[in-house]
Symmetry: C2
Amino acid sequence: MKPDKQKRLEAAGFKIGTADDFLKLTPAESELVTLRLSLAHDVRRRRIALHFTQADLARRLGSSQSRIAKLEAAEPDVSLDFLFRAMFAMGAKRREVGQLIAAV
Amino acid sequence: MKPDKQKRLEAAGFKIGTADDFLKLTPAESELVTLRLSLAHDVRRRRIALHFTQADLARRLGSSQSRIAKLEAAEPDVSLDFLFRAMFAMGAKRREVGQLIAAV
DNA sequence: AAGTGATATGTCAATTCTGACATATGTCAA
DNA sequence: TTGACATATGTCAGAATTGACATATCACTT
């Protein structure tokens, strides 16, 4: 958001902040949320780059299409284990995953 | 292991390899195992650097001393979620965690 | 409009993971 | 040796996550 727009909104009584602020997350919780979102987004990016459907990826993981949809939506009942397994199942290396996680 | 020692052992009929080889892990499984071990090791390293006992860390996580012991031992019933929560609970940032994961 | 393939959403029983607890082992100082 | 503190190991009921399935929605072609 541009600074001037933020000023105008605040003048109008709106509090502006990130979703983390809004939800009053601790720094640790915030890091975890960001991590989950990054992974979920990258799974989709990689899947599409490989021309896989969700069903294709599910088959590789011994899972189901609906679970992949939930994974990519970063739904709260999706574990980090599942997210990482999806990454590695698409050939991602620790090096690449580390870079993704470290990215600001 | 030093190369010469490995040669001697192989000459004696021993097969030398990594645990991954021995267990016949796929590359994806291998990446996951290494990831878990790296995190578990780093949790212990950080905890000790902070002069925390396992009970201290457990309290921060709303967990128990025994679960932290299992975590640091990378026992198979410990989730990646729990490992990451422990890292972040000790103040680790995504940047640092990413570097740890990316490290060869 | 109807058909087709991909993705999203909801539910649920089974599996997996968790905190809690008991207890064992280890370490070190008094 | 005893005591005090830290860590390890085992168990288990409850909580969280899973695959499977049904079905809805979307995008595109005919």
